[in-house]
Symmetry: C2
Subunit: 337 residues, 2 copies
């Protein structure tokens, strides 16, 4: 039961775009985003519509950046955190692309990229969009308390990122955009459930899933952790990141000198009141479509492992006393030689 | 923007299994299901757990029927109707397969089979499970009213099927199970939204999506509707099925003599108080893993188009006054010569 697929025909990340909310724009990565806004309603009637609009904008921007026509897009693989992927259904319906809806909680960018890469590598399509989003207010309403309650959260809790990221995964580099970025392979995650029940400590729930998929990636492909310039988790935050590194050290794998978590990078944790860090599908998506792909393009990084992490919780399962299963998928991204 | 993929390496449906609830077992298809139960709690603590347990049973049964080991399964593509795919997270976590969560509402069996077929056809894995489920009580709780309210439903409403269906999609026929059933190709659906807002008339919301994907399948692959022995929608019910056939007739395509809807077949509409018919991911899944694959295996049908249909609604989107976007995916299934 091998989890990893190393591509013979390596798809490329042809272009990408990110749309970020107010708090994210004010954070340390603010300068990396394509579109920033100080209106978390994004001129919409409600938060869900705002999230959908950010998705539309991210996809349109990514398509515009590589200069292909809508007709050249073979499909879109996308999802979000909301019940029944509501942000996505309305975010992409006008574009009329063949659509595969995916759900992996905050690991969704990893899942959508894995599926899109497989489709492109196999030659089923030349250009597939992978996209996801999250929104602080839609997520709080979905999973926790209405914002109006002013509910307090413990320091282990993370802050759902408002934003959307989209990449165009393609069979060939048509444009002159410098160093092509290849997707060398993917490692599909398994559900890990260590019994954590605290929805305000998703980092702890997700760390075992990140551990499991990173170990599978290294073991199955005979890669050393040191072959990666950086191993980047999605949204473990301060608490989950520490747990992941402890687990890896116990297994004899030290990534402490090349580890990054999008949730930790995206906010200034000292001044932005983000507690353990950022989370949500949008967290890893906009960090990818800003900082990470930017560094691969510039050559600052040659090869990274991008590991979006997801906590598979719902309010129903929590109310029924269940644990929080988690999953993570790993994408091997390679820049120039 | 071609929606169809015709496979050069055609994957086979190596085995399949269905688990059906009480009402479904008492319906016209009762004899086709592998496992039937008169306990809609499936010995679980709550309905969600019952749905998860049906999933586990369906997958285990499908694996047992083709006699392969768990270790030979490369992954599972699965989902359900509940927010954050809750039935699936708990239904499959113990099996520790690489997991891709998908959501297409009641079209999920089509989506999971499409993704699994692409993975197998491309040679990324030799055996991938596609699975989905629904449960009347979890769906009513998720989308409508708690059952205890005894809420009445109009005649255009459908009845969510309790059950789970799983297929093993494989690269080769290893076992002597008679005529192999090939997946010749898939047509990935686009979101269609004709403005229907009535959650008690999902057939009307979904008919345009079925129309769109059937037309794309016929047009792109230069197939005649008459090349199929049967064109089978997932859960349009009586109302939606009529709309679909009207739309097709207007477009010059007559499938009335070879049309079937799983939602219409699964209950005795005169005596089982199911209103417009069955619905839910489980509706097309258990009809596939009972009647449809059985008829292909026996040679009664040579070639069919399986078109699960999904209404992408959520309570949040409905409360906000939104329409019900819909999607359908088409799978070309071919039995012996």
């Amino acid at each position: 039961m091998k989890q990893s697929i190393m591509f013979k025909n390596k798809p490329i990340v042809r272009s990408w775009a990110s749309v970020a909310g107010k708090k994210e724009s004010e954070g340390p990565l603010g300068a990396y985003f394509d579109v920033t806004t100080d209106d978390d309603m994004y001129s919409g009637k409600n938060w869900e519509q705002a999230e959908s609009r950010m998705q539309t904008e991210a996809v349109k921007k990514a398509i515009a950046k590589c200069g292909i026509s809508y007709n050249e897009i073979g499909g879109i693989v996308a999802g979000d955190l909301l019940g029944q992927l509501m942000a996505t259904s309305f975010g992409i319906s006008q574009m009329q692309f063949p659509f595969l809806g995916v759900y992996g909680a905050c690991s969704t960018m990893g899942e959508s990229m894995a599926v899109a890469s497989m489709i492109v590598s196999a030659g089923f399509s030349d250009n597939v969009v992978a996209m996801t989003s999250s929104h602080f207010a839609t997520a709080e309403k979905q999973f926790r308390f209405p914002l109006g309650y002013g509910n307090q959260r413990p320091l282990s809790a993370t802050t759902t990122v408002t934003g959307s990221g989209a990449v165009i995964i393609s069979s060939k580099e048509e444009t002159e955009t410098g160093i092509p970025i290849y997707i060398e392979g993917v490692t599909i995650g398994k559900i890990e459930d260590y019994g954590v029940k605290d929805a305000n400590n998703m980092g702890a729930a997700m760390a075992p899933a990140a551990f499991s998929v990173i170990m599978a990636n290294i073991r199955e492909n005979e890669i050393l952790a040191s072959d990666y310039d950086c191993i980047i988790t999605g949204d473990l935050g301060v608490v989950g990141g520490r747990i992941l590194n402890d687990m890896l050290l116990h297994a004899g794998v030290d990534i402490t000198d090349r580890y990054m978590d999008c949730g930790v990078e995206i906010y200034n944790l000292n001044s932005q009141d983000a507690h353990s860090g950022g989370s949500g599908c949008g967290c890893s998506a906009i960090t990818l479509c800003g900082l990470i792909l930017g560094r691969l393009k510039s050559g600052e990084w040659k090869k990274v492992l991008f590991v979006p992490t997801g906590a598979l919780l719902s309010t129903v399962s929590l109310h029924e006393g269940n644990t929080i299963p988690a999953i993570a998928h790993a994408i091997i991204l390679k820049g120039g030689e």
